[in-house]
Symmetry: C2
Subunit: 407 residues, 2 copies
């Protein structure tokens, strides 16, 4: 008898009807002879509604209290799934993160899982129950409720799967799997059958937004196969695992893009030690994430420094960088908020340097100007005008033959 952990996101449990259909899927897995542990998110917009309530009462609610408040959303969903299973004649029991033995540190609103003591889960499984765990939450050693922050329910699911030595972890969401590109941009994009953890990380971080990178990392750490599939459809989805074959790995696996990009250039910077930290420390202190940094070769000790930030951070970033720019004697400080990132992702790609050249050539053939380039071992990213992003993704998808199945 295999153990399978399934996670259903907020859109999959948004109302009674959807919960009933989730219960049906759980029963199918059960009827195939598996033990099932289910992790659920809060229903639909519940979390946002609770945050709205909190803001009515306090401009800055205590983090501890906010965590307790938000944790109720997942608890509600977990009991409703258990009831739906009960009405189908199955034994089911809901557990809070605390009852499920998920121990976290005390960093409220962004707690990390320290360990899982799944005694209660195992007992309930042994009694023949399907166990429904409220996602996104845990408990400190002092019995205080915590929430895990972004990607919390995915993380709960993968962590439980690892802790229970499950056969696999299934993440059900509103997409059919990991696509070779955003299907809204590229109609011929297709769901991958399989993908490596690292590749998934690059795709997710770059905007595929299917599964939180934190949960993918955890999957990689424990070598836990993770299946991403639609909770509404019947397609098999994409399996994320470590066993992707060598031949498959030496390919571009997908095209990611992200339109939430703005660029700041500090022009005419005197090239001397301490300049970079003078510029970037205020940004770090303001919790503004700087993505790509490029410094031109210096000419006569004068250089240009360019970096990107999320578009929503641009105004704040400019207000911090402008005075610094002046004080260090730079000529000016300019910004552009009409950019996009387009990336090709595939493990081991950099061992085959032809991919970078091909990418640049394809963009050139489309007449698309590349403003910045960054790379990782398995990714090549070009920053281009947002207006051209769609064309770029389509052209790359075609050129790398991603519409062809089976690779």
């Amino acid at each position: 008898m295999a153990l399978i952990v399934q996670k259903y996101g907020g859109s999959s449990v948004a109302d009674a009807e959807k919960i009933a259909s989730v219960a049906q899927r759980i029963v199918e897995t059960r009827e195939k002879g598996n033990e099932v542990v289910v992790v659920v998110s809060a229903m639909g917009d519940t979390t946002d509604e609770l945050i709205g309530l909190a803001r009515q009462l306090s401009p800055q609610p205590q983090e501890r209290e906010l965590d307790v408040l938000l944790s109720t959303g997942e608890i509600v969903a977990s009991t409703l799934v258990a009831m739906a299973l009960g009405s189908l004649g199955y034994k089911a029991v809901s557990l809070s993160g605390a009852q499920a033995g998920i121990e976290t540190d005390a960093s409220h609103s962004r707690a990390r899982i320290l360990r899982i003591q799944p005694k209660r889960i195992v007992e309930e499984l042994d009694r023949g129950s399907i166990v429904i765990v409220a996602g996104f939450q845990g408990m400190t050693r002092d019995m205080d409720i915590t929430t895990l922050g972004r990607g919390g329910s995915d993380t709960t699911a993968v962590a439980l799967a690892a802790s229970l030595r499950a056969k696999r972890c299934e993440i059900y969401t509103d997409v059919e799997g990991i696509f070779t590109a955003d299907p809204r941009l590229v109609p011929e994009a297709r769901a991958l059958e399989e993908i490596g953890y690292e590749e998934m990380l690059e795709l997710a971080t770059l905007g595929a937004k299917v599964m939180h990178p934190r949960a993918v990392e955890l999957g990689e750490l424990y070598d836990m196969p993770v299946v991403v599939a639609s909770s509404f459809g019947v397609k098999p989805g994409t399996i994320i695992h470590g066993g992707v074959s060598m031949e498959v790995r030496n390919k571009v696996r997908g095209i990611a893009h992200d339109s939430n990009v703005a660029k700041i250039t500090v022009v005419g910077v005197p090239d001397q030690p301490g300049i970079a930290s003078a510029i970037f420390e205020p940004l770090a202190n303001a919790n503004i994430s700087v993505d790509t940094i490029v410094q031109n070769a210096s000419i006569e000790n004068i250089t240009d420094l360019t970096f990107t930030v999320a578009r929503s951070d641009l105004n704040k970033a400019m207000s911090l960088v402008s005075p610094v720019s002046e004080s260090i004697g730079a000529r000016e400080c300019v910004s552009d908020s009409t950019l996009a990132k387009v990336s090709i992702v595939g493990t081991g790609m950099l061992n085959a340097p032809g991919y970078a050249a091909t990418m640049f050539r394809i963009l050139y053939e489309q007449g698309i100007n590349i403003q910045l380039i960054t790379t990782s071992e398995i990714r090549i990213t070009c920053i281009i005008s947002e207006a051209r992003a769609k064309e770029a993704v389509r052209a790359l998808h075609k050129a790398f033959e991603l519409e062809q199945a089976g690779v």
Copy 2:
């Protein structure tokens, strides 16, 4: 430094504005130099909404799951009150029933408190925090959430007050205290300054509906003074305690009435052993509460048996009693659903038998027919036509001079 336990009902925390005003009242108590433990119910209609959700998923939700679901309502309210206090600059911490150390038996949906281990509450008080406890809930020894059923939050408050040896327990609700009669019927009715536990029990059970009898009994058991007052007004409310002076006790304290009364009469019953149990056992099995039972003196071994049930139970009760009535050879079985109970309540009243005679005379003078009479040591109840209930309550209130203050 005295410790005061305050309980706020669902209507007192129905929205953000009301919660903010509750926080203000808590702060006032705190600023008078008291330690404060607060018990809250779920906001407004939350509990009904959660039950509605559950019913969408299962005709008969598992009681354990329903308890977990419902317990979130009070948890949400407790965090919001803590946030409101935080925004006023006070240290506040919310605790679930489980965290507050409320251990119950495993009777889901109607659990009884076994003991309270308020270690965490005491620690938080020692840290200078105001402690907000989610009412209506506890935890079994096996770490399962339970709810306490009707009157659960009142019971939580009084039990915590007893366990923490509080100076008093304050129950804030939407009325100004315990009235001498329903002010909607008797405009000159007034809030009592004080009342004994037993008197309160008779008044509450008979329909005053201010505080649940279960919580009153607990107050009596631990001799915990309980103040009932409005959470919106500034009136001092009514104190329920054991120290009511002898002279005050030998009086009618209030007039209770209850319109939810129906009468069933089994006519022409052969008077032989086993008849009563044949009639009442099916009702007990169907969980129908029988209130007043009167059996006429038997004439030629034939008697009439009359009893009352809640009006909402009448149809079900008739469907159970009719076949029994036939099988035991009774002549017929008739019902009347247009009745009301009117009671006068006061400790030690029966030691002064003039009260009963006065009550019957007053009703007679109004031309009101008395259908049934029942009494306890501190209560005389007449069952009359519902159409005359208002007149009866007014006439009794006047005759016993309840509009006069200070008694």
